[in-house]
């Protein structure tokens, strides 16, 4: 049938408007039920006994005395859960409880279920564990150079987890064409999500022999799969319900040992079992920002046009794989989507160390190389005598183009972002013109709107939505997505309300329940607005189609005349002729039977076909640009960020007030990473975490947070619902490099390592005074044998996205 768009050219009623979130009221009156708020009759409490040593064989574990303690109902160890799991199919390297070896302080070795938490605590002291210590691997250098003992028995040799090498076009040829070539080395310290909600989970094995797990997880679908594997239950007998996350930022995206353990204990005891981690335990869960050592070499023409770039990254992965293989590829993926990079080579290596595992934190693998790239470009611009704005603005990657590494760029509002903040910040009158101790810095960035490929290989949609309309005019949206505070539940309601011409608060939203809702892959990679939004749009349009047919028939007007707004369906030519929305549903239900529709979304296929092309492709890319103004006290080295101007290309705001909140929150988190946040360990003292508490792990309070002036650029992307792109992660990226670029403008020293703590600033100022290199940062990278790169001709060279065949090489004896 000929379908109309429901709006008939009239402006949006919901999209782009500052509606409240559908759950805002509950979040402001204490009614939102987080995982630890759940309490069930006969519920037991679980505690995990964790390793106090960083690397050891478990020689003996005796739980006899703990089992005898009154109030203890069950005690389990690694042998009760022998099947390994992990978020990526290629890294199934975790056990819920360690079996014969511990790999970090905090690795769990036994679990207790008891009638109350105090009893479980007491029982922990009664478990005897004998460890045989092994040498620890605690740094990137040790991970690269020390082969034995191996932390894991898999990977690319010794303690190297993953090694990748890709070359797009001939970079040597590119460097030869350059007028100027520069190399730099940078380091980005690891840091953690620090969600205010400690992880918690409740498991219950029902009378019908089915398992339910409530958990603070961003990825209920992946937890569901992991539980089925480890527990040996049919997946159809497991229900995972993600509770509203009290902050995620990527830290609740892996299946966790505590989730598996409470599920197992619930199965064994026939009683509900709850676990809530302590703040210290949350630091051991980690999965946060990888520490990354980076080397970058770029060739440019006199005008700043890049001729070639070569990037090397060294990731400190910690004790397990987690998302690490993807993280490694991400440290080399998105360098090409901001400025034109015609030839590009990337080499990356991830090592295992005896520390909590790193994984995806807001920006997943891209803030580190973005920091390096943007500080590096600042240095190049100064050397060739052009402004840091021009070197970027004049050489932007074109909209609707394919990069050298086969990422398909859609709408591209970076130029507009740059123009906004350069003008608003009065950059031209500040850059290199402020008094000593004051400075401005500038940087740009880009981020994905959803990973183009799922974590496990399949051809199914990444997001599904079901819509149920009832004859009272009620609409229920069901989707597997997980609201972690970003407002994803509300996005579903806004989009359905727009299409059906009703109020978002007329809609019931049911999400994140593997029994009730169609699969959505989870709240990661900034995928949710774009993917669930498109699925919701399709489901709503299909529902509107049914309603349109029934209403047109009733009103005896052509189908294309029917519009939906203000809870009515009516004839656009005679707006008073129409029916209420509820009547429209009754007409449709009378004609077609019960009204339910589905929608789903699968990202477009990526043009890259080479091995490793799975990381980086996305349906769309968001863009950000930021200027920060800092004060640097040369006496103390303290850096104060006073103001930040940031522009973000959102495509189209579904709700501007939520977009603003994501931008401001990203600036905040980027500021913490730039100035103070670090996950660091005492390498010479057992690799113990320096500060697993919120007091000592420094994060910005109200007193450190800067003033933020936000500009939203709306450059709609054809792949986004209503043109929308992401905002949850991208705006973090330009902040750390803008801060170090501003420090240089203020006091003339380069801080090539974040966080830019007062100690580092003072060391650089001292070096400058002594006539040495006026910088603080790493001086070199480890020497490592890189595998021969996979060579992929670029699109400009006529490449088809595939790698060149490797030549057979005869090795002489």
């Amino acid at each position: 049938m000929a379908m109309n768009n429901g709006n008939n050219g009239r402006p949006h009623k919901v999209i782009g408007k500052p509606f409240r979130k559908v759950d805002a009221r509950a979040k402001c009156n204490g009614q939102t039920r987080f995982a630890d708020d759940i309490s069930l009759p006969r519920m037991l409490y679980c505690k995990l006994l964790r390793s106090p040593v960083p690397h050891a064989l478990i020689k003996r574990i005796d739980t006899t005395r703990a089992r005898q303690l009154p109030g203890v109902v069950a005690v389990i160890t690694g042998s009760d859960l022998p099947i390994p799991y992990g978020i990526l199919p290629v890294s199934q390297d975790e056990h819920a409880l360690c079996i014969d070896k511990v790999r970090m302080i905090g690795d769990p070795v036994a679990a207790i279920a008891a009638v109350d938490e105090d009893t479980a605590f007491e029982a922990m002291d009664l478990i005897e564990v004998e460890y045989e210590r092994l040498k620890t691997i605690s740094t990137i250098e040790e991970g690269v150079y020390v082969d034995e003992p191996r932390i894991h028995e898999y990977g690319d040799g010794g303690n190297i987890h993953k090694r990748v090498s890709l070359e797009f076009g001939d970079v040597d040829e590119g460097f030869a064409e350059a007028d100027h070539v520069r190399e730099d080395v940078f380091f980005y310290e690891g840091n953690t999500h620090l969600p205010l909600e400690q992880h918690a989970a409740v498991a219950h094995f029902d009378a019908d022999n089915k398992l339910t797990l409530w958990s603070a997880t961003q990825t209920p679908h992946y937890v569901h799969r992991a539980l089925a594997k480890v527990l040996g239950l049919p997946a159809a007998h497991i229900r995972v319900i993600a509770t509203p996350n009290g902050g995620g930022f990527g830290g609740k995206s892996d299946p966790f040992n505590h989730e598996v353990v409470v599920a197992k204990l619930a199965m064994m005891t026939g009683r509900p079992v709850k676990i809530t981690l302590t703040r210290e335990e949350v630091f051991y869960c980690h999965r946060g920002r990888h520490p990354v050592l980076m080397w970058v070499k770029t060739g440019v023409k006199r005008d700043g046009a890049i001729t070639a770039m070569h990037f090397r990254t060294f990731l400190d992965g910690g004790a397990y794989g987690s998302y690490g293989v993807a993280s490694t590829f991400y440290t080399g993926a998105l360098q090409t989507v901001t400025y034109n990079v015609p030839r590009y080579k990337f080499e990356g290596v991830r090592v295992f160390t005896n520390k909590p595992p790193c994984g995806p934190k807001r920006g997943h693998g891209t803030p580190q190389p973005r920091f390096a790239l943007e500080a590096h470009l600042d240095k190049i611009a100064e050397e060739i005598g052009i402004s840091p704005v021009d070197i970027r603005r004049r050489h932007l990657a074109p909209a609707f183009s394919v990069t050298a590494n086969y990422l398909r760029i859609g709408s591209m509002g970076l130029g507009a972002c740059i123009d906004k903040i350069i003008e608003a910040s009065d950059w031209q009158n500040k850059f290199r013109r402020l008094p000593y101790g004051k400075g401005v810095g500038f940087a740009c960035s880009s981020y994905l709107c959803g990973a183009g490929l799922p974590i496990y290989w399949n051809n199914m949609p990444h997001s599904g939505v079901q819509l149920r309309l009832d004859r009272q005019g009620g609409v229920c949206v069901l989707c597997g997505s997980t609201d972690i505070g970003q407002g994803s539940d509300s996005i579903l309601a806004y989009i359905v309300a727009e299409v059906l011409g009703i109020d978002p608060f007329d809609i019931r939203v049911v999400t994140a329940d593997t029994d009730l809702t169609p699969v959505d892959l989870g709240s990661y990679s900034s995928r949710v607005t774009l993917m669930t939004g498109n699925a919701a749009l399709q489901a709503a349009e299909r529902a509107r189609e049914l309603l349109t047919i029934a209403v047109a028939e009733k009103l005896n007007v052509p189908i294309e005349n029917i519009a939906f707004a203000e809870r009515r369906a009516f004839d656009v030519e005679n707006p008073e002729v129409g029916v209420s929305f509820a009547e429209a549903v009754v007409l449709a239900e009378s004609k077609f039977g019960t009204i339910g529709t589905v929608g789903s979304y699968t990202p477009p296929r990526s043009p890259g076909k080479f091995k490793g092309a799975g990381v980086g492709p996305s349906p769309a890319y968001s863009y950000s640009a930021a200027v920060v103004e800092v004060g640097v006290d040369p006496e103390t080295g303290i850096v104060t960020v006073e103001r930040c101007w940031i522009a973000h290309d959102i495509g189209q705001s579904i709700n501007p007030v939520l977009v603003m909140g994501q931008v401001e929150g990203s600036v905040y988190m980027g500021l913490g990473e730039a100035l103070m946040e670090e996950m660091t360990y005492r390498a010479n003292r057992n690799v113990v975490h320096k500060f697993p508490s919120m007091l000592e792990y420094k994060s910005p309070t109200t007193l450190e947070m800067c003033d933020v002036k936000t500009f939203l650029i709306e450059d709609p992307d054809p792949n986004g619902p209503f043109g929308a792109k992401e905002v949850g992660q991208g705006p973090l990226l330009p902040v750390p490099p803008a801060v170090v670029n501003a420090i240089y403008d203020a006091v003339g020293v380069r801080i090539d390592e974040v966080p830019a703590t007062p100690e580092k600033v003072l060391a650089a100022l001292r070096a400058k005074q002594q006539g040495k290199d006026a910088r603080f940062g790493p001086k070199s990278i480890p020497e490592i044998e890189w595998p021969a790169p996979l060579k992929v001709p670029t699109p400009a060279e006529g490449g088809d996205g595939k790698e060149l065949p490797r030549l057979a090489v005869h090795v002489k004896d």
Binding site: L196, E197, V657, S693, T702, L703
Partner: protein, 176 residues
């Protein structure tokens, strides 16, 4: 079963304007008593070490970290939790502006911020931005960057002073 030494303490106090009598193990913190013995789970916890401000409640009108106060010490005191902030179904002006301006993202720190802000506005109806920052400096928020929280406090303060205040356009849409 758990040891006999766990004799329960009986405490009488006022919670959200209601007289309450509750029995609990004497080592329990006010936070634990509220959440576990009184089912008032609106009060959250982020560290249980007095570091994050998430568990803030009002005790006799003053913001207190409930994870650092023994339940026993609440005897005879008046405690306000997030569940007591609205009047019936009518939200407090701060709750309204937090909801409207996106000052609650994940919502986990929100109860602590709301109660701290309520106490601030009771003693200072027209706080400056710097005074708001100072008053809220003991509460951590990882989502918002605090800015929407300041704006919500300022808007609620204006409305509580009787002004017909609306949020500035740049708060909602950004600068032009």
């Amino acid at each position: 079963m758990p040891k006999a030494k766990k004799q329960k303490a009986h405490v009488r106090l006022t919670i959200n304007r209601e007289e309450v009598e509750v029995a609990f193990a004497p080592h329990k913190t006010l936070l634990e008593v509220l959440r576990e013995d009184l089912a008032l789970t609106g009060t959250k916890h982020g560290c249980e070490l007095g570091e994050c401000g998430v568990c803030t409640v009002l005790v006799d009108g003053q913001p207190v970290l409930s994870c650092l106060m023994l339940g026993l010490d609440a005897e005879g005191r008046a405690v306000t939790t997030i569940e007591g902030m609205a009047e019936g179904n009518e939200l407090h002006p701060l709750q309204e502006t937090f909801a409207d301006l996106g000052a609650a993202q994940c919502g986990y720190c929100t109860p602590g911020f709301l109660l701290t802000a309520q106490e601030l506005l009771e003693k200072n109806p027209s706080p400056s931005r710097a005074e708001i920052q100072e008053a809220l400096s003991g509460n951590l928020c990882r989502c918002t960057g605090y800015i929407k929280i300041y704006e919500a406090v300022e808007l609620a303060a204006a409305r509580m002073r009787g002004e017909q205040a609306e949020p500035a356009k740049e708060i909602i849409y950004g600068y032009e």
